[in-house]
């Protein structure tokens, strides 16, 4: 458990009949989502999302103990004690019952104790800061949120992409996350939950895909006009395919230096940035970079912590932002 494997969940797995209903709901949702990109933890592609789903159904099941009586007894009471029913007993001054009070406080209390212990276990087990046990070699990715696109840097491979996160299947992917503009939140629902990206701060998220496929990743924290376009594809592929993909990026990518980064940081959607920086060898709306400044992520992160003023002209996302090359031209 402390090593981050998911086994503790197997000890409090689900009663089959409830699970059946759960699957039914999933089925409806998945059928209605008739596109190929998966975007729900109800249709999980990794152990974290799967455990989150299981946990959710368990919470619903336990809570039902408190809720079902309300649904059942409200109509019964309303009908039995309706005004016109002269046969029903009427006790206008009855206002206390010791045992009823005990049940009313006691049952919800016990349910909350059970749910709290589940909460405790699951929150530790699914802590996004904890690496996930995996059979394949882990991959490090540094994520920079920009207006309105995501930059993924693979520091160990010397490559970077915009709006395409490719990961080897069954590998624990360790993400370091920040933003170079306003606050954002990165969510790949099929794999794991979201975490905020904040300027000058590093947050962490671990994901693992245990099957190949394409999953929607998105920003869920509103950050202006291009917000709804800040989606990316997360593609999980075999280790061999991943190696091929890395080669492709290295071959077709462009250099990511300070000037390119400055142009990338201008408020634009992935598709717009692809127009200015990408090439036809790259997928639609995606940019590949092959030579990446090794310290880029730390530079983005550290810039806000130097105690110096950052005027709007140097602040990506700001209304008065001027990319570095244009600044040079002006001087």
């Amino acid at each position: 458990m402390k090593d981050g494997n998911m086994t503790p969940f197997s000890s409090w797995r689900f009663r089959p009949n409830l699970l059946k209903h759960a699957w039914l709901l999933c089925g409806v949702l998945v059928l209605s989502a008739c596109n190929e990109e998966r975007n729900s933890f109800l249709d999980p592609a990794g152990p974290i999302a799967a455990a989150q789903r299981t946990h959710m159904f368990e919470v619903i099941a336990w809570t039902m103990i408190a809720i079902v009586p309300v649904f059942v007894f409200v109509p019964l009471i309303l009908w039995r004690y309706r005004f016109r029913n002269a046969k029903a007993r009427y006790t206008p001054d009855w206002e206390f019952s010791g045992w009823l009070d005990m049940v009313m406080w006691g049952v919800p209390f016990v349910i909350i104790i059970i749910l709290s212990s589940m909460l405790w276990k699951s929150t530790h087990a699914l802590d996004p800061y904890k690496p996930i046990a995996s059979t394949e070699a882990p991959v490090n990715v540094q994520v920079v949120g920009l207006d309105w696109k995501w930059l993924f840097i693979y520091p160990d491979l010397g490559i970077a992409t915009v709006n395409e996160l490719v990961i080897p299947v069954n590998a624990s992917v360790a993400m370091d996350i920040t933003t170079d503009t306003v606050m954002q939140s990165i969510l790949i629902s099929s794999l794991a939950g979201q975490i905020y990206a904040m300027p000058g701060m590093r947050t962490k998220l671990h994901v693992l895909a245990d099957e190949t496929g394409t999953f929607v990743g998105e920003n869920t924290q509103y950050n202006g006009d291009g917000f709804v376009d800040q989606n990316f594809q997360t593609i999980s592929m075999s280790t061999e395919d991943f190696a091929v993909w890395v080669t492709t990026v290295k071959a077709s990518g462009v250099t990511l230096d300070a000037t390119t980064y400055g142009r990338l940081a201008v408020g634009s959607t992935g598709a717009q940035a692809h127009e200015t920086l990408g090439s036809s060898q790259m997928p639609e709306g995606v940019i590949y970079f092959n030579q990446v400044e090794p310290s880029l992520f730390e530079t983005v992160l550290g810039r806000y912590n130097e105690g110096t003023d950052i005027p709007p002209a140097q602040q990506p996302g700001a209304v008065g932002y001027v990319p570095p090359s244009a600044q040079g031209a002006n001087q």
Partner: protein, 702 residues
């Protein structure tokens, strides 16, 4: 000084381009036309109101009987009028957003920044200018009557609170016509709302709206709490207080402690934006996480501030319409207090995803789930109140049934969201939007709407139309269900909140269902105004001058409808928890006292209106950098307050003879009125005198 400088000095950054009508003429897209249309509605609405009042010849009445009044009942009514006007705007904005999303597959008709303004003003208005004024209004009206008081402890401060709330509402209405409001949502997270990212006046509108209204609400809280502690009638011990009064005590405690963090957070944003501070900026040591904590340190108690009075209303209506004492009074009081206290310990569940350690998330997650216990107890207590009662299916009971079913679902999704692991997935999606509407509409709105229906005859002397009331309740119940249950599904499908459009065609059918629901909610809004119109027309038939149309149980029903300025001719002496029910049963009700005394009531004053008008000017001037006007307004407000302290004749006396005459006239009316049984409750024979129930099953099993 050159002319440009002079103009700049005079009107700050206000310019011709600030008017949304002009871009709509230059570039008539659907989005611009919607904006211009809204501005026109605001302008013509204001002009129409002025013409209407002039036509009625009501300016004098408006000024002397209402705007300058310090009577808690009139202030309460003015709060509710304000809330209903703002409700109309809030609902329409909601419908526009639903329409946009229904047609939002790959586009829609609204521009992204316009949609951003809509969700920001919708949230800000619904919380601060609909829910809170409705609560303040109903509490102002009902609470002093329930405890047998003559007025609030601080009648002038009460008027100033209303003035400041109206100031905030005025600023947000002005933003429809002049320049744009913020697009940073009602929570206004920096750095997005900082000067770098939104240099325009939008976030400044939000800041001054919130600060001015927030100060008003804090003062309201102080006023309610002191009134409850100090103004209770003889014999009204704390544990004889009606449940609504208890819930208002809990809510006012929350108002006093939860509003200041918001006001301070907004002031810190103002310091960042106006004075080059760096509390929440990206650079120079600013940290937006501090804002997020401060905001939700307000924000979570706030939702309990809203829902607790609704619990109070349901406690009153369920007991009354079941013809029974409230079951588990002590449990309900302790549960309410427990919720009020716990509400301060859960704020972090609004941002489990901000990267703090698992143990921190666990602590706040468990604290959040704990609130489900007292809430559950309340639901069961109300069910036990109905048990062995004689339940009349009147409008408040329809709301109560909707509440039982729908609010419980909201509670379930609340327990789900209290789990960090689940929150990681559905946070910031439409699931969250569905959840909080699921607690706010069936909880707060249903509660306050049933309170409006329940106490309306007390305030105006005639009942509201029953049939329209049922229609409104059903429109709300089904409107809510159709609008927000699809949003849960869309949240599971991964649709982020605040999305102007989407590319997944699977979202569209759910959005269409939600649009249908929004239509039903709009029908509820329209019916609310029709009901008012119809009820005013039929007021002769609906009149309940004796004052007790529902066979009420608490003190507010023991006086005439509408009550006299001084509420009670003699202060009531309380002998029982449901004192008026007890008094009716024992023949203590409607008695002439041995002697009448002179009554002192607070004198009218224009101070609240002065603060309202100059507060609005101050806010407007600060938004547009018109420094001279800001200075003048601030000086006028300060001088007016100081001048007020020199006024020593703050009360006037109503002589005992006048009180006696009015009271005897009412008692004569009581004696001349035929009592009705609950059978005839909704008939025109109900003049507000309840007959003792002599049903065959009374007290005994048949």
């Amino acid at each position: 000084m050159n002319p440009d400088d002079t103009i700049h000095w005079l009107i700050g950054r206000l310019g011709v381009s600030s008017l949304p009508i002009l871009p709509a003429i230059e570039n008539p897209t659907a989005s611009e036309l919607v904006g211009a249309g809204a501005a026109s509605v605001a302008i013509f609405g204001a002009i129409g109101a002025v013409i209407f009042i002039t036509w009625l010849g009501a300016w004098k009445t408006l000024w002397f009987d209402w705007l300058t009044s310090t009577d808690h009942k009139r202030i309460g009514i003015m709060y509710i009028v304000l809330a209903l006007v703002m409700l109309a705007r809030g609902v329409i904005e909601g419908v526009v957003m639903r329409t946009q999303q229904a047609f939002g597959l790959d586009g829609g008709f609204l521009a992204p920044d316009h949609f951003g303004e809509l969700f920001t003003t919708h949230g800000t208005i619904m919380i601060f200018f609909v829910a809170m004024p409705l609560i303040a209004g109903i509490a102002n009206y009902v609470m002093p009557l329930q405890i047998g008081a003559r007025d609030m402890s601080f009648p002038v401060m009460n008027q100033i609170s209303l003035g400041l709330t109206a100031t905030g509402a005025a600023l947000i209405m002005i933003s429809l016509v002049i320049a744009q409001f913020s697009t940073g949502s009602w929570a206004a997270y920096p750095p997005y709302t900082g000067l770098d990212f939104q240099p325009g006046p939008g976030p400044d509108y939000w800041i001054w709206t919130i600060i001015l209204a927030g100060i008003g609400t804090t003062m309201s809280g102080i006023n309610f709490a002191v009134t409850i502690y100090k103004e209770r009638a003889p014999g009204m011990t704390l544990f004889r207080m009606p449940l609504f009064t208890w819930t208002m005590l809990c809510t006012s405690i929350i108002m006093i402690f939860a509003l200041p963090p918001l006001t301070v957070a907004a002031l810190m944003q103002a310091a960042d934006r106006y004075l080059d501070f760096h509390f929440f900026t990206n650079d120079l040591g600013g940290n937006m996480m501090n804002y997020v904590n401060l905001f939700w340190l307000f924000g979570h108690p706030e939702v309990y501030l809203l829902v607790i009075p609704a619990y109070g209303v349901f406690s009153e209506t369920i007991a009354t319409f079941s013809g029974k004492r409230l079951f588990g009074y002590n449990s309900l009081v302790f549960a309410t207090m427990a919720i009020a206290v716990l509400s301060f310990s859960v704020w972090l569940h609004h941002f489990f995803t901000m990267g703090q350690s698992a143990n921190v998330n666990i602590a706040f997650g468990i604290a959040s789930m704990c609130i489900a216990v007292p809430t559950g107890v309340k639901i069961y207590d109300w069910m036990a109140t109905m048990y062995r009662g004689r339940i009349r299916m009147s409008v408040p009971m329809i709301y109560a049934i909707g509440f039982f079913y729908l609010f419980t679902v909201g509670g379930l999704t609340g327990v789900m969201l209290a789990n960090p692991t689940i929150s990681y997935q559905v946070h910031n999606t439409l699931f969250l939007v569905a959840h909080f509407h699921n607690v706010i509409i069936p909880g707060v709105v249903f509660g306050l709407m049933s309170g409006y229906f329940y106490w309306f005859p007390k305030a105006f002397g005639f009942r509201l139309h029953e049939g329209w009331g049922r229609a409104i309740a059903l429109f709300w119940i089904f409107g809510f269900s159709f609008t927000f249950f699809p949003l849960y599904v869309l949240g599971f499908m991964g649709m982020p909140r605040r999305s102007v459009s989407y590319t997944n065609p699977a979202f569209e059918p759910w959005m269409m269902v939600a649009l249908f629901g929004a239509g039903l909610i709009f029908a509820a809004l329209v019916s609310l105004f029709i009901q008012l119109r119809v009820s005013i027309r039929d007021r002769e038939n609906l009149a309940v001058p004796v004052g007790d149309p529902w066979n009420g149980r608490t003190l507010e029903w023991s006086t005439s409808s509408p009550p006299p300025h001084y509420n009670f001719a003699v202060p009531p002496t309380v002998e029982d928890r449901d004192d008026f029910a007890d008094a009716k049963a024992k023949g203590r009700a409607y008695q002439e006292p041995d002697a009448y005394e002179d009554i002192e009531v607070p004198e009218n004053t224009p101070i609240g209106m002065i603060i309202c008008v100059f507060g609005t000017l101050l806010g407007f001037a600060l938004v547009f950098y018109i420094w001279w006007l800001a200075l003048v307004s601030a000086v006028v407000i300060v001088v007016a307050i100081i001048a007020r302290t020199f006024n020593l004749s703050t009360t006037r006396t109503i002589p005992a003879a006048e009180v006696a005459e009015e009271h005897r006239a009412w008692l004569a009316q009581v004696r001349a009125t035929k009592a009705v049984t609950r059978e005839a409750e909704t008939k025109s024979t109900n003049h507000g005198l309840a007959g003792l129930e002599t049903a065959p099953s009374d007290g005994e099993p048949a």
